[in-house]
Subunit: 409 residues, 2 copies
Amino acid sequence: MNVEVINTGTELLLGNVLNTHLKFLAEALFPLGLRIGRQVTVPDGDLIREAVVEAAARAEIVLITGGLGPTTDDITREIVAEWLGLELVHDEEIMRAIEARFARRAMQMSPRNRRQAQRPREAVVLWNHHGTAPGLYFPPVAMGGRMSPHIFLLPGPPRELKPMFNESVLPILQKLLPERPAFALRSYRIAGMGESGVEELVGEPLLALGLEVGYCARPGEVDLRLIGGPEELARAEEMVVKKLGGHIVSRGGEELEKVVVDLLTARGETLAIAESCTGGFVAHRVTNVPGASAVFMQGFVTYANEAKTRALGVDAALIEAHGAVSAEVAAAMAEGARAAAGVDHALATTGIAGPGGGSEAKPVGTVFIALATKLGPTVVERHRYQHERETFKNLTAQTALDLLRRRLV
Amino acid sequence: MNVEVINTGTELLLGNVLNTHLKFLAEALFPLGLRIGRQVTVPDGDLIREAVVEAAARAEIVLITGGLGPTTDDITREIVAEWLGLELVHDEEIMRAIEARFARRAMQMSPRNRRQAQRPREAVVLWNHHGTAPGLYFPPVAMGGRMSPHIFLLPGPPRELKPMFNESVLPILQKLLPERPAFALRSYRIAGMGESGVEELVGEPLLALGLEVGYCARPGEVDLRLIGGPEELARAEEMVVKKLGGHIVSRGGEELEKVVVDLLTARGETLAIAESCTGGFVAHRVTNVPGASAVFMQGFVTYANEAKTRALGVDAALIEAHGAVSAEVAAAMAEGARAAAGVDHALATTGIAGPGGGSEAKPVGTVFIALATKLGPTVVERHRYQHERETFKNLTAQTALDLLRRRLV
């Protein structure tokens, strides 16, 4: 069955509000074997009708969000009922639910809210436990030679839409789809390799297996998404693991920092992080993981040279001789952090984020990343990331965390 | 002029990626007097063509995002050129830019990247300084009885799209719209006050001045956007400054951390930051500001209690007596950081991000924020932010930086 989504709301097209509905609905529909073929955002008002007509020509299921409120620009209910040739009638049960909601919150109901109690007899009410506007489900009706799609009207605010979708829409869809899909989604998060590099290694064999293959690149990582039957996915798994091996950070979208924290937790080992150019960002990512406190002991944001000496014991003469951005200082930072915090592993970053501070030998974007670990000698990597500041930090953090991950797996 | 946006990308319709383009483009177009009439998301592949045909029938400007990458599912360039009847040719200048990019990063170019150097002679190249895929601008061409719209192809990744839009697309649009709207946009960034609080103070008088008023709330801050004539804006300015006073962080959208770094730079003063619950995020925000190294000396991410004692000299008995999340420990952390780093001001955060770790006296979300400063005695604020981890960190960082900002202005 084809699904299309129509988001209504002038505020979405003005950029006042970020549209999170598509992502939510897509993720919720996928386990049912349903995929959204197309999504459109239209302003409040008459253009909704055109969008409904277009979607109905292509899809068997149409989800419409927004335009169910009490104000005059909220006319989704009226437009859909009129298009289907259904008459709106006052529903006393809806009215009482709206009144009860106002009473519970000791608020005055506006006469405008009466409009929200209207519905065609043929529509099924989707109760709203987080707002006044009920949703509506219009089962297919005959229109000329063919049937209209299944149409669902859902409220605009995400905190109303999400529970209504889970409580009321999913059960209806499940009944429409007694046979569960034969295909599944598998995703791999890959570090240390670009999008085109991943495709070169596994793209053709995956297509040859008859799988749908998608790539999504972010700074320092690539998601590889495979859609297909369970047998093909199992065969793909073997090939992907063989070809990408240690580059695979996780299956199913787990973040690199979560993988690192889980690995450390499983090993009962601890971590410290010394940061110059990343300025606390590596520690921030690690401490975003619930439970990080069991393994992450201490971070050192040693921006000034004196801080590197004072907090990490980096010899001032070493900084003088090689510069603060050098393999020697990176190693000394990691080893100093490991000793100062008394931990099993310590990462260190030092580099030139720019825009100033570069030289011919060490141009802007140069960064040294070190890992001091009880597992062996200290390692230092040199990279160059020519990006604006935030992406520079992101790539450096990514490489640092992946350096540790590869050591732990 | 009507503007429509076409977002391409199967990953958007699968819900793997949140579509932030519409919001960015809408906000960027608004000051030009342009509003987006409709937005559609279509999967990679042939459906892009249908979306282009539909949008072209309604709009004079069509912005298309995504599908410019090196992989086989990236075919936006080909589809648009074919629809316009233009021939794709190899562009040696683009090729050299892509090759130079790979060379700078010491990475191997894939033969697939050659496709990205193709363009019709009639199209204008929009250079991409943050990725390989150049954008393209197709000026109108005659098609049957009418002209095609202005079509812009932009890369999918936001960190490539945003600078390209600002650097290359805006100047072209500005030339297309020789008569600038008589109205201007002014925005105020406000901290320490909610959206409804701001509206209560200034909403009605601003509307009475005939201004279009918009509010945009983010964790810990609100943007107040005013649109109107220069005279009305000047009168509004006086009233807004009088009513919101010290709550105004900046005019024109400057971030809080930038304002703090600029204030410290102007005063020639230095900063250290000691973080427990924010885990490096405050330091990360400060070090996102170019030039922060002149004022930010050192950060201490003291997650473990022993780290607080060792790095900041917080008395273990104090932690034992009051708990690590307490006003006493927050103050001792700030004072310890100020002394250890030898700086003029030091901020400290300690709190319970959750989900675990709360108690009746200090429930999840409790946080203490301290400022030790040469300007006077140490101050500690207690707050409660009941949000998931990242928003908790964000609100805490926001409050900490604003505590310092208010002390410096």
